[in-house]
Chain length 357, copies 2
């Protein structure tokens, strides 16, 4: 196909990011190499390295103006977050992150000192996750960008995929959700007021310190999977919450050919997240289901296996159900007892305009 030809062209918005990934999988074809355990289908790829061991490989990019705003993202946090989002994908396979490469795109208005600060954030993340940056690449670029690849390691039978959920499993999430989106709302609101040069406006971010930190420097949940390993526990399906809980539960349902029922009152939401949503006169459940960038884990496991886990580390938010029970694979029971279908990335019953970044 010649791109210069004036043939019918389809806008990317029509198929979206998930459509583009599906297009890549279709165009390239599934690998039939026996060493490839899992390709473009999960949070990270899995391939055998000999014996029982496998490595997992993932890549993720943060782009200025798309994933972050340099006006309120300290560069040290940017380095930390760029590595964290990749580590989160490795952890979401129940694997241990080991090695990373960093490809950094640098515009002309970024100085050597600023790049050093980004590297320092990367180093902090390396120390936090006990891993090693082994390679790098720098390029001139229109906007600042950080493209990182991470290799992780596991025994082949330790790896947990999206596809393992079974009817009757409890659906659980670690930590709390919706805080990152609440933090983003506060940061955007303050930037707006600063830009409008509102008289006597002094941003007071103290009441929002938790939600802002969750947005700027979210940690990957490596300690959770270490605790599981210590307890001899292993969930049946696992994913990290980068696009919002609703999207991730839909991913698990699609990969596992099951349905899911969530319970709104059970969603773990920090009081600061609730307060922020109240101040913006918005429904905090929307933050929790669709906000994204929490980098907590969602997993499913039989109820009996939950006994082996520290109850401080997770919350049961729903149950895996048979797919034929209803048209919509995922439903949610609201606080008023009403059960309604849930869309992956938008929720008309909760908000006229679902949050998007």
């Amino acid at each position: 196909m010649d791109p210069q030809e004036q043939t019918q062209q389809t806008a990317l918005a029509e198929i979206g990011e998930f459509g583009l990934i599906a297009l890549m999988r279709e165009t390239l074809g599934e690998s039939e190499d026996e060493s490839v355990v899992s390709g473009i289908a999960d949070d990270a790829a899995v391939y055998r390295t000999g014996g029982e061991r496998v490595h997992v490989l993932t890549t993720d990019t943060l782009v200025e103006g798309v994933h972050f705003d340099r006006a309120f993202m300290p560069l040290e946090h940017l380095g930390f977050k760029a590595l964290s989002v990749n580590v989160s994908d490795v952890v979401a396979m129940n694997a241990t992150p080991r090695y990373a490469t960093v490809s950094i795109g640098i515009p002309q208005n970024v100085s050597v000192e600023m790049v050093t600060t980004i590297y320092e954030g990367l180093k902090q993340a390396c120390n936090a996750y006990d891993m090693h940056i082994v390679g790098g690449d720098t390029n001139a670029s229109h906007g600042l960008s950080l493209s990182i690849s991470v290799v992780g390691a596991a025994d082949e039978d330790e790896v947990v995929y999206r596809r393992g959920a079974q009817v009757g499993d409890k659906i659980c999430v670690t930590g709390d959700i919706g805080a990152s989106y609440a933090g983003l709302k506060v940061l955007l609101h303050n930037r707006e007021r600063l830009q409008e040069q509102e008289e006597n406006f002094q941003p007071d971010l103290d009441p929002y310190s938790y939600v802002i930190r969750r947005h700027l420097a979210p940690p990957a949940q490596l300690t959770v999977i270490r605790d599981w390993a210590d307890a001899g526990a292993q969930p049946r399906s696992l994913i990290d919450i980068s696009d919002g809980l609703s999207a991730e539960v839909h991913h698990i349902c699609e990969a596992s050919d099951v349905g899911a029922q969530l319970y709104e009152p059970a969603l773990p939401i920090d009081p600061e997240t609730r307060n922020t949503a109240t101040e913006f006169e918005e429904d905090v459940t929307v933050y929790a289901l669709f906000g994204g960038e929490d980098y907590e884990l969602a997993f499913t496991t039989p109820e009996d296996d939950l006994e082996t886990l520290d109850p401080q580390t997770y919350t049961v938010v729903g149950e895996v159900v048979a797919p034929e029970e209803k048209e919509e694979p995922v439903t949610i029971q609201r606080a008023n007892g009403q059960t309604i279908p849930l869309q992956p990335g938008g929720f008309d019953h909760f908000a006229d305009s679902p949050p998007g970044q």
Copy 2:
């Protein structure tokens, strides 16, 4: 360090790309993990995966307006080239490429059909190199960009580094050099004439088909290292020619603590490259030494070991010498018999303004 502070800021141009890589190495520190055989020091990182096996990992990005011009880079070639430049780094460690991830940045003026064409180019490259794209990531972006990471495999004692050159080794290159830069010159010249809407101008690219192909779709030299393996041969030092032969020989000398003497008449240059330089009234030796993007291999090996190699596959272009013999680590003997020092990235004796992109 707070980037918001009005402290002294250093422009990136002052330290350059190699300075930025050194800065990354300094800020992050060398890894002391025993599984890391080699970090940020060569074409790719090397880490142990168990037993005698190691994996190598490299990452490289092509950015629109920096590394390519969409006006004359067919998107299929872009996909092919983006994978090739990464495979070349793996081959430059004497390792076999296995798995890749692709992170693609897509601006609004790129359609689904255009992305499909890029994926088709990636697929061609996967087939050519017998490897597998196992993961992907797509992002909105200001310009088109392709950031690729490749994992390769080798036995630990098969890996060849930049640092192994010894005094007396012959310096060799595979294939021919300078053609990619000649192709770029032709493409830039034609674009200029088209933009000026020169009357009756019809580009005739037939006489330049080889050099243009070398610029748009350079193959990585995987067959060369396979031939070496079949012959039981292994060079002492090895690097791929991405930044021009002069820069690469300087890298080998620095890593190996040796000097080098090159012979201008020996440089392998295709007749089409010579003709192109003649038409532009430029010195073809400048193309060969500083043009870059050839993705051939430069290696050093004892003279006796050359007998095991197919003489069709390489050219001897110089010799490794003791570092203390002269101030400049690399010199070149010109066709007129005069020996002069060689700079890594510019050559005042050959050209007033060395080529740059």
